[in-house]
C-alpha cells in the first residue's frame, strides 16, 4: 500500500516538476525501508558530518544556546582522536598546522565556552604586524592600539583548537554521539504525504516521505537526521552527494608550512610579499614561530627536500635582504604628504622598519599543500547546510579561512535557534536560506579581497610595484584607513574605506 502510494507520489512528482534527487550511490528505491541487518539505525535532529574545528565549534554553539541545547546531535568523523578526551600533551613540539584566530572569532569561542581550554595550552596573542614587499619601496606596520584594541589576533595550533573544542563538547549536556566513520552515501527524498493516520510513523516511513535524511556510513551503520550539516572540508563529501556545484580555480601555488625556533620570543606577525608570493612568519608561543611560504609547485618540492640548514638560510635570507633592499619610508616622500589626511596620530606611524628575528632551528617537518579558491554556489538545500571549508576555501595569505568558518557556525546555530523559537522544521530550505543570505555576502567579499591581493602581488611590473608601494605607504600613514583595515581583518563586518 505504502509502496503504491509512494511510487504514485513519485510519478506525480515528475509531472509537477518537484525536484527528485536520489543521492545515494545505489539505485534509490522510494521505499528503502526494511530494517537493515546490523545495528539499529538511530534518529537525530542534526547530523554534523566532519568533526573538525568548524564542525565541533558548531556543536558547541548549539550546546550553548538555550533553545538548541536539547537537540540530539550526531558527529560523523573518522579521526580516531575524537574518541579520546585529551590528545595533546603540553610539551609536544608545535605542529606546523596553525590558524590565526581573529578577535571576532576569539569572542565567539569565548561565548561558546571553549576559549578557556585554548589558553591552557600553547597559544600566542600578537599585537603588532609588519607588512612589506621585496621592492623595498615601502612598508606598513600595524599595531592593535591603532584601532583601540589589545590584540590583532591569536595564533593557535589546529590540534590545540580541536582538542579544546572536543573537550568542551564532551563536557556539555547536549545529547550527542560520535560516529567514528566516513560518510559513504546520503539520501533525501522529496516530500510526499502519507495516508496513515496516527502518531507512530516509523523512521523509515518518515524518510520515505522526505521528513528525514538517511546517512549511510562506511562501517555499515546508518542514521537518520532532520538536518545534515556538512563541515567536512574543502573536498566535502556532503557537498558532492548533495549535488551542490562550486566555482573556483586552483592557484598555481603550493604552501610550505613548518615551525622554526628563535633565540628570543617573537610577538609580531611578519609578512613579506616576494616575487612569487607571500612569506609569513607568525608567533605561536614559547619562542616558536610558524612559517607559511607560498610558492610555485616546483619550488615547493625543492624547498621541501633541501637540507634543514639550507632551508633556514633561505628563510632568513628571504626575510632580510633577499630579493630586494630594506624599505625606508622616505622613498615616496615623508609622512607630511599625508598629514592633512590623518585623523589623529597612530602610534605605529612613527615605528621604523624592523628586521624579523632570525630563525635558528627548524622545529618540525616541512609540509606542502596546494592552494585553491573554491566557493559553493549554494550553502543550503533541503535538509542540508554547508559550513566552513565545505562552503568556501580561500588563500591563506591573510589567515582568514577558519575565521570565516567560525562565522558560519555561529550564524547557522543562531538561525536554527530562531527557527526552533517559532516552531519551524529545522530542515526546511526557507530557514536554511536565511543562513545563506547572512553569510554568503560576507564570505564572498572576503574571498574577493583576498583573491585581489593574491593577484596584485603576483605580478612584478614596475608601475604596479610603485602602486603597491603607494598602497602600503597610504595604509601605514593614513590612520583612519589603517584602523578600518585592522577592524575588517579582525572580523568586524565592515569593508575598509567604507567605515
Amino acid at each position: 500500500m505504502n509502496r503504491l502510494l509512494a511510487t504514485k507520489a513519485g510519478s506525480n512528482a515528475y509531472r509537477l516538476r518537484i525536484p527528485w534527487r536520489p543521492f545515494s550511490n545505489d539505485a534509490a528505491c522510494p521505499n528503502a525501508g526494511n530494517p537493515e541487518t546490523g545495528s539499529e539505525a538511530q534518529q537525530y535532529d542534526i547530523a554534523i558530518v566532519g568533526g573538525g574545528m568548524v564542525g565541533l565549534a558548531f556543536a558547541c554553539s548549539l550546546a550553548s544556546k538555550p533553545l538548541t541545547k536539547h537537540l540530539n546531535v550526531a558527529i560523523v568523523d573518522s579521526n580516531p582522536a575524537l574518541g579520546r578526551k585529551h590528545f595533546i600533551k603540553k610539551d609536544d613540539l608545535p605542529d606546523p598546522r596553525v590558524s590565526t584566530i581573529t578577535p571576532a572569532s576569539i569572542s565567539f569561542l569565548k561565548d561558546i565556552g571553549a576559549w578557556q581550554f585554548v589558553e591552557q595550552h600553547r597559544h600566542a596573542y600578537f599585537d603588532k604586524m609588519q607588512v612589506w614587499d621585496y621592492t623595498g619601496l615601502s612598508y606598513a606596520k600595524y599595531n592593535a592600539r591603532d584601532a583601540d584594541k589589545e590584540v590583532l589576533g591569536c595564533v593557535v595550533e589546529n590540534k590545540v583548537l580541536l582538542s579544546s573544542l572536543l573537550s568542551h563538547v564532551q563536557d556539555m549536556d547536549m545529547l550527542k554521539k560520535i560516529y567514528p566513520s566516513r560518510l559513504s552515501s546520503m539520501s533525501i527524498l522529496p516530500n510526499s504525504s502519507s495516508s496513515e493516520v496516527g502518531s507512530t510513523l516509523s523512521m523509515t516511513a518518515l524518510f520515505t516521505h522526505g521528513r528525514l535524511a538517511k546517512l549511510e556510513l562506511e562501517d555499515g551503520n546508518s542514521l537518520y537526521a532532520k538536518l545534515v550539516v556538512g563541515a567536512d572540508g574543502g573536498k566535502s563529501r556532503v557537498r558532492e552527494l548533495a549535488g551542490i556545484r562550486t566555482t573556483g580555480w586552483n592557484y598555481t601555488q603550493n604552501a610550505i608550512i613548518c615551525t622554526v625556533e628563535h633565540a628570543l620570543e617573537n610577538h609580531c606577525a611578519w609578512q613579506r610579499f616576494l616575487p612569487s608570493s607571500p612569506l609569513a612568519l607568525l608567533p605561536i608561543g614559547d619562542k616558536f614561530s610558524n612559517i607559511v611560504w607560498t610558492m610555485t609547485p616546483e619550488e615547493s618540492s625543492e624547498y621541501k627536500s633541501m637540507t634543514e640548514d639550507n632551508f633556514l638560510k633561505a628563510v632568513n635570507h628571504a626575510l632580510d635582504y633577499g630579493y630586494g633592499p630594506h624599505p625606508t619610508s622616505s622613498i615616496l616622500g615623508s609622512s607630511d604628504l599625508f598629514s592633512w589626511f590623518k585623523g589623529g596620530i597612530s602610534s605605529s606611524t612613527s615605528d621604523c622598519f624592523e628586521v624579523p628575528p632570525k630563525a635558528v632551528k627548524l622545529a618540525s617537518e616541512r609540509m606542502a599543500f596546494p592552494l585553491s579558491l573554491r566557493h559553493a554556489n549554494d550553502y543550503a538545500s533541503k535538509r542540508i547546510a554547508l559550513i566552513g571549508d565545505a562552503a568556501h576555501t580561500v588563500h591563506p595569505l591573510a589567515g582568514q579561512g577558519v575565521n570565516l568558518g567560525f562565522g558560519d557556525a555561529s550564524s547557522l546555530s543562531s538561525v536554527i535557534s530562531e527557527g526552533i523559537a517559532v516552531g519551524t522544521d529545522i530542515g526546511e530550505v526557507s530557514l536554511l536560506k536565511k543562513y545563506e543570505a547572512d553569510r554568503k555576502p560576507a564570505n564572498v567579499t572576503m574571498m574577493a579581497v583576498l583573491d585581489g591581493f593574491q593577484k596584485a602581488y603576483s605580478v612584478d611590473f614596475g608601475p604596479l610595484n610603485i602602486l603597491r608601494a603607494a598602497a602600503f605607504h597610504g595604509a601605514h600613514h593614513i590612520s583612519p584607513l589603517k584602523k578600518s583595515i585592522i577592524s575588517y581583518a579582525s572580523g568586524e563586518l565592515r569593508l575598509p574605506l567604507f567605515a
Binding site: L5, A13, L16, L67, N191, E196, V422, T424, A437
Partner: protein, 307 residues
Amino acid sequence: MASSKLLSQPRWHRLLRRNLPNARLFSGLPTQHPGSVPEPQNHGEPKSKNKFKTASSTPSSLKEAELAKFAAISDTWWDSEGPFKPLHNMNPTRLAFIRSTLCRHFRKDPLSARPFEGLRIIDVGCGGGILSEPLARMGAIVTGIDAVEKNIRIARLHANMDPTTSNIEYCCTTAEKLVDEQRKFDAVIALEVIEHVADSAEFCKSLSALTAHEGATVVSTLNRSMRSYAAAIVAAEYLLHWLPKGTHQWSSFLTPEELTMILKRASINVKEMAGFVFNPITGRWSLSDDISVNYIAFGTKETNNEE
C-alpha cells in the same frame, strides 16, 4: 460582503488543471459561496468565514487514487516557493508575536523550546495548517478548524508526516458550532479571518465564548486606511498579482479602534497590538509599531463577567 462578486479563478486552480488533467476538482462539491474556494493570498489564509454557509463536515469516502492525487497536490499549498509563498514568509513574524505574548500571559519560560506545553490552542480558519503546525511543535495541544473541507484534508495529510504535528485535531466546522459544543481553549487564534466574515461582532462573541477563563485571544487583520488600500488592494491584487482581484473588500477591513471595541463588547480586553511591515529589498516581514496595513492584536478574557 462579497456575495454578489464572483472571484476570478484562483491561480491554485489553474496550476491544478495544468499539471493533473485527470484530477477531479473539488470545487464540484456543493458550496453556496464563490468565496469558499481556497485562494493564494499574501495577507491572509485562504478561507471565507461566512457563518451562513453550512459546510459539509462529514468526510467523503475518497478512493485511494484520489488520496494519492491529493497527496501530490498538497505540496503546492505547502510549497514555500509556490503560490502561498507570501504567507510562508509572513508566518515566522506572526509566530514571534504569538510566542512572546502568550509566554508572558501564561508565564511560560520564553527560553524553552516547547513553551506551550499543556496549553490548548485553537487555530480558527487554519487553512492548510501553516500556523497550526509550528504551534504544535512549540508543545501546544492544537485544534485547527476551517469551513472548507479541502483545506482540512490537506492540513491533515501534511501534519501526519511529522510525529510532532500528527496530534493536531483538524475539524471542518465553524467557530459557532464549537461554541454550541461548549468547547473551551486556553488560547483562541484567528489570523486573517475577521475581514472575511459577514458579522464581525458576532464572530468576536464566538471567539470569546471559546476562550477559557483567563485565556487569550489573538486576532490579526488588515487596517482600513489609505495605505492599506494602496498596499492590499491596489498593489497586492492589481499590480503584483499576489492575490486574486476581489479577495478583499476594503470596506470590510477593521481599524484597530473598531476591532478593540468589538472585542471589548465580547469581553476581551486588547492588551497588545503590533503591525507587520514588508521590506521589499530583503523580502522579509518584521514586527513594528506601524499598524497602518497589517496588524495583530492580543487580548485577554475579562473575568468579571460570567459567560
